[in-house]
């Protein structure tokens, strides 16, 4: 799979087969294309080439089995909805077009809020929540999706210690329930502790596999070091050439 923005390739030739029932960290420097990788998988940004399959099917046919936690900053937290309203959004796929959110779905959403210790905040307007609480609301919303595969974009960014623990607990819970979770992560120190597998990404997959095999000094140096400047320059050159055509 290759992804390009404005004709500038940001992900080159990504080829990856996610192992089932694992917690996978996606790690890489700023601009490495971590969020783009997730968005391309979910069809939120167009792919220049290549394909993504879920259990051998297209994404369109697997929507109900795939959950998504966008970056916290991607939404307007002044929006006039309560925390419960936001968690209920995770059930919309199940509810379907036009039908209202019923009590059954609200109860399911509340149970998910309970799992991240946010039940007491269900009635709060979302701007009244702290950053960590907002992230937990997003996590509860993902749980409400009841998916088998989750994509989470920087769930640990700017959260307090209690929220970080809550997220890790939920990740482990999901794993023991047989699910797979792919998490964009920025804290290299916690990768071995929190995750089974890791994808080292910098515009292409530098290395991917079990943490103990792949998460090596050498690979990290390749991912974060200066060796990829040539690829970055090549991207700019492609964009320029496309612009002149």
């Amino acid at each position: 799979m290759t992804v390009a923005y404005q004709r500038k390739p940001v992900l080159w030739d990504v080829d990856y087969d996610a192992p089932p029932n694992r917690l996978v960290a996606i790690v890489g420097p700023n601009g490495a294309g971590k969020s783009t990788l997730i968005k391309a998988c979910l069809g939120l940004v167009p792919r220049a080439s290549g394909q993504v399959e879920f259990w051998g099917q297209s994404y369109r046919n697997s929507r109900a089995r795939v959950g998504y936690v966008p970056q916290r900053e991607s939404v307007d937290w002044d929006f006039p909805v309560s925390a419960l309203d936001v968690v209920c959004m995770g059930r919309y796929r199940r509810i379907g077009w036009f039908r209202p959110v019923t009590g059954t779905h609200k109860a399911a959403a509340l149970a998910c809020m309970d799992r991240v210790s946010m039940r007491d905040y269900a009635g709060r307007q979302i701007s009244q929540l702290s950053g960590g609480q907002q992230q937990r609301v997003f996590l509860a919303r993902a749980l409400a999706q009841e998916a088998d595969l989750y994509f989470m974009d920087e769930p640990f960014a700017g959260v307090d210690a209690a929220t970080e623990r809550a997220i890790v607990d939920v990740l482990r819970e999901l794993k023991s329930a047989g699910k797979t979770v792919m998490v964009v992560h920025h804290d290299l120190q916690t990768v071995p502790e929190y995750f089974d597998d890791v994808i080292l990404l910098n515009m292409r997959i530098v290395a991917a596999g079990p943490v103990r095999d792949v998460f090596t000094k050498d690979n990290l140096h390749k991912t974060y070091g200066g060796r990829l400047t040539l690829l970055s320059e090549a991207s700019d050159a492609v964009a320029r050439a496309a612009g002149e055509l």
């Binding site: 968005k39 979910l42 069809g43 939120l44 929507r63 795939v66 998504y68 966008p70 991607s74 939404v75 307007d76 929006f79 006039p80 909805v81 309560s82 309203d85 936001v86 959004m89 919309y92 796929r93 509810i95 077009w97 036009f98 039908r99 209202p100 959110v101 307007q125 919303r141 999706q145």
Partner: protein, 443 residues
């Protein structure tokens, strides 16, 4: 203005069925239709889109007229609708290809399209064609006069009345009903697409599709409204009721309900303000569309000032109360510290320094009213409940000092002012030892 019919008088307000009924209905229906759609424009920070669409309708009308050479309503409506949708597409294109912010894209598109409309009209005017750019701005409500209107309420309620309803009013009724139905039916989908477009799309509710559906409705509402009420009212109603309602509630469903109520008040109130109020002073009626927009703006201003949740006044009162509470707490803490040091009372100088800017006598009087202190012959004493409250404040202060020094690594002589602020916030400090960094006992 001379009236062909006897006006109805309700209190001091005169209402003339023949002159006023249909214009008022038209204005109110336009206000409600635009007002309810405006909620999602305001929430998606696309308020200017109403402005854009209502201005670019003009070239659509002129081009439709030039092609079909008729002013038949259907042709005009088609031309305006195409122009409205073209605006939405153009704005998206300018935003993407020109890499400019949405406001700039909308501003560029509508001003250029409106200019094109003006130029087209001028060239059309040479060919003796009757199209007026000003009508687009403030509409033609006065043309909706009902000649031969019934004189009694019973007659007015007859079914045959429906035949007399002008086309503009029918169009607006359909538009308002469809807009309300659209928001009602797609409430859940519009909400998720506006709040989190990516999640909406991954769940199969295509956010781009919802965006275009909304824009088509905004375009249709604009087109349906502008002939009768003009674009000023459309622009005002797409923004003001929703923005006002947002200040009154933190729930989307309630916000939509409020916006409809506010639109009704604007439509009816604004129309009466334009006709009946000048009549009371024996003056001619003023432009109703303008007046309705003014009422909408005035309601928004009122909400900004006086909204119970987000208003300026509420915030001022909340701030003032908080400052007063801090002053009382500082007074109690000062008395507690004095009693620790076995000093009978606190000197006025010391009190003035502790209260920093607050009047000592007012603060003492407030604390006395709350039963926290008692005053006897110039000395102030803590009551039993005052003592308890004071102890809590001093405890919080010293625990924070302990935390800041031991956990956060502050220097012991730098923590007092920080702890002074923290002791007044609700968050409790983590429990600590029974002595603060300065060796004083933590109660």
């Amino acid at each position: 203005m001379t009236s062909p019919f006897e006006p109805l008088s309700i209190g001091v307000i005169t209402f003339n069925v023949g002159l006023d009924l249909f214009p008022m209905l038209a204005a109110t229906l336009a206000a409600v239709g635009c007002g309810v759609l405006g909620n999602f424009l305001v929430l998606r920070r696309l308020s200017l889109m109403g402005d854009a669409i209502s201005h670019s309708v003009l070239p659509g009308l002129v081009i439709a007229f030039l092609i079909a050479s008729t002013r038949s309503p259907l042709i005009m409506f088609a031309g305006a609708s195409i122009a409205g949708i073209a605006t939405v597409v153009l704005v998206e294109l300018v935003k993407k290809l020109g890499r400019v912010e949405p406001g700039a894209a909308m501003g560029v598109v509508f001003s250029i399209l409106f200019a094109l409309g003006v130029l087209l009209i001028e060239s059309a005017a040479v060919r003796h064609i009757d199209l007026d750019a000003e009508c687009v701005l403030h509409g033609q409500l006065e043309t909706l006069v009902w000649y031969g209107a019934p004189e009694s309420v019973a007659e007015l309620l007859k079914l045959s009345t429906l035949d007399a309803v002008p086309r503009q009013v029918t169009t607006l009724a359909v538009m308002a009903t469809l807009s309300l139905a659209f928001i009602g039916v797609f409430f859940k989908e519009l909400r998720i697409a506006a709040f989190d477009p990516d999640l909406a799309t991954t769940q199969g509710f295509n956010a781009t599709l919802m965006h275009f559906l909304l824009m088509i409705f905004v375009a249709a509402a604009t087109v349906a409204s502008f002939e009768a009420v003009g674009s000023i009212l459309v622009i005002a109603m797409l923004v003001c009721p929703a923005a006002t309602a947002r200040l009154l509630t933190d729930r989307l469903a309630a916000q939509i309900g409020w916006s409809v109520a506010i639109s009704l008040v604007c439509g009816i109130g604004g129309y009466l303000a334009a006709t009946a109020v000048p009549a009371m002073f024996a003056r001619d009626a003023v432009n109703a569309a303008g007046c309705i927009s003014m009422v909408a703006g005035a309601l928004l201003a009122l909400a900004i000032i006086a909204s119970p949740k987000h208003g300026v006044v509420t915030r001022f009162i909340r701030h003032k109360r908080f400052a007063q509470r801090i002053a009382v707490e500082d007074l109690l803490a000062a008395l507690y510290r004095a009693s620790e040091a076995d000093i009978e009372s606190v000197t006025p100088e010391r009190l003035a320094a502790v209260l920093a800017g607050h009047s000592p006598s007012e603060t003492i009087a407030r604390a006395a009213r709350e039963g926290l202190v008692s005053t006897h012959a110039g000395t102030i004493r803590l009551t039993a409940s005052g003592h308890l409250a004071a102890m809590n404040i001093v405890r919080r202060h010293r625990l924070w000092e302990h935390y800041l020094v031991d956990e956060a690594g502050f220097a012991p002589d730098h923590v007092h002012s920080a702890a002074e602020q923290l002791e007044h916030v609700i968050t409790n400090p983590p429990v600590g030892p029974d002595r603060d960094p300065h060796g004083r006992r933590i109660p």
